[in-house]
């Protein structure tokens, strides 16, 4: 139901059926390292390029979340996915393995909240029963696309951020999850993942009449590695000497949730451009968008910041966090200890990331690993997540354009399982 100018409120509960995250090694050493489902030891994950690795992380995160929800791909009505690569290649290529309708989304780093908002609205309106919302980003593929080659010996500015290597997926559903279902799907996780992989493989083979698809039966890399004796030997070598490169996604079988999170509404953001033109200072460029959406959200819903147990912005970084508070203070809105920024909190100080994390995987992995677990433990009752995105590409700053920002907010509440 539309609420005010930009917001909507869900009329019926949209439950978070499950969530799953996969992150790279640096993220595993960060502040939320203990909470991610799978931490990779190697950010290529046995693939030949970082783009392929990102796509693999994306699809394994979707599979992990669908398995944890106790579902099969048949039960999923729609997949909403996005990433930072040109033409959404990481999500698009991941979707080859799923015979499920797919909508590709792009709103830079705020793609995740866009997906969650749309998913919740579609379920609320009855257009779908179960939807997956996933995004991914990879440090190495983002560096290459937006900045410089990895090995170039340049210095990062103190306002720069570190793109998070990570993928996460949330399964939203109209049906309420049960404690028994949770337990069962966690116990049988690896078995179900394997079965789903086989299923994807069968589907790929059936479609591939010309036998061009290079597959290895039951192998998790499916299309990625070429056939032939040399590559087979190389894979055997990798498996023997560096087995962590080809590690399977895992899950914590002992985890139990006491509460179930549900998406109750949100605010669609407007593009806001305050004329910041420094592409290495994204936090400063995106803070006005976050403030704009936050103010619109409060106006539309008639709530105050005190009505929330926690407010998270996406990836404004340490300076952007200050700028956000500064902008709100001018409007007479106080942000206190209940406000934090996912990007600024992501890495430890000694990891030398300057402003903190950013990227489509940043707010996603923090939400799916950290925020959702706090909600499910009952620590937080009502949370607002404002993911933020800077809508530029590599060429626009060179053409003397400023950086527009956008931010979408969604509200998560909980009820007892």
């Amino acid at each position: 139901m539309k609420t005010g100018r930009q917001s909507f409120t869900a009329n019926r509960p949209v439950y978070v059926r499950s969530s799953y995250t996969i992150v790279g090694p640096k993220e595993g050493e960060g502040r939320f390292g203990e909470e991610f489902d799978t931490v990779l030891k190697d950010d290529l994950w046995g693939e030949k390029s970082y783009e392929k690795a990102e796509s693999k992380m994306h699809r394994e995160a979707i599979r992990g979340a669908v398995c944890l929800a106790g579902m099969t791909l048949e039960d999923v009505d729609l997949m909403l996915a996005g990433d930072l690569l040109n033409e959404l290649s990481a999500s698009g290529f991941a979707m080859r393995y799923f015979k499920v309708p797919f909508l590709g989304l792009y709103n830079a780093c705020s793609t995740f909240s866009e997906a969650v908002l749309l998913g919740a609205a579609l379920i609320d309106g009855g257009a779908a029963k179960t939807v997956t919302c996933s995004t991914s980003s990879h440090f190495a593929s983002a560096e290459r696309q937006y900045r410089y080659p990895l090995e170039l010996g340049n210095q990062r500015t103190p306002t720069s951020q570190w793109t998070v290597t990570g993928a996460g997926c949330t399964v939203l559903g109209a049906e309420r999850p049960t404690a028994e279902g949770d337990r069962e799907s966690r116990e049988r996780f690896s078995e179900k993942m394997k079965a789903m992989r086989e299923e994807c493989l069968e589907a790929a083979k059936a479609e591939d009449a010309e036998k061009k698809t290079r597959t290895e039966a039951g192998d998790n890399t499916l299309f990625s590695v070429k056939g032939g004796a040399f590559d087979a030997l190389k894979r055997r070598f990798i498996r023997a000497w560096r087995p962590e490169c080809l590690a399977d996604p895992v899950c914590d079988a002992a985890y139990e949730r006491k509460f179930v999170a549900k998406i109750t509404g949100g605010t669609f953001g407007k593009v806001t451009d305050f004329g910041i033109d420094d592409e290495s200072n994204m936090g400063g460029a995106m803070a006005p968008a976050a403030a704009d959406t936050f103010i619109a959200h409060l106006m539309d819903t008639g709530r105050a910041p005190e009505d929330y147990d926690a407010i998270f912005t996406g990836d404004l970084g340490r300076f952007g966090k200050e700028a956000f508070a500064h902008l709100l203070a001018k409007e007479g809105i106080k942000t206190d200890a209940r406000y934090d920024d996912c990007g600024a909190a992501y890495y430890k100080a000694e990891q030398e990331t300057f402003q903190g994390g950013s990227g489509a995987g940043c707010v996603n992995t923090v939400f799916n690993a950290h925020i959702i677990k706090r909600i499910e433990r009952g620590e937080l009752r009502r949370v607002l997540v404002l993911a933020t995105g800077a809508l530029l590409n590599k060429d626009t700053p060179l053409q003397k354009e400023t950086i527009p920002g956008v931010s979408h907010a969604f509200t998560v509440e909980c009820e007892e399982l």
Binding site: K48, E151, L152, G153, P158, F274, G275, I276, F319, E331
Partner: protein, 145 residues
Amino acid sequence: MTDKAEYRLYVKKNSPRSPMVRSLFAAFVVGGLICCVGEGIRDGISALFPSFSEEEVGAWTTVVMIFLGSFFTAIGVYDRLGRFAGGGSIVPITGFANSVVSPALEYNREGVFFGICAKMFVIAGPIIVFGVVSGIVVGIVACLV
């Protein structure tokens, strides 16, 4: 909402800035050390091959320094040095080697032709263009004078 110009001023004033003294010091020390290595190689070459003329020794020193820059880029050391030293490791000829080799490594996955060959000069390209153009200008001036 806040006035845009006022916000821009706020961002300009409050954004964290590069630590100038530390950056300059690191660039000075590392840049100086790279030049010392170059001098050492020069002395070594002229000691090993006494028959070389001054120009030949210079050319061989350049070749060795470019090789070292490329080698340390390929084994993943030069970018760490660059993160610490900034301009100190960009300005010497080893930095030029780094700016050619790093895209070559990066785009190696798109194949030899459209990857390595096409993208190799994405960073060093402007330097080469300016080198050639200034060469032409100087050549014309020298011809006229």
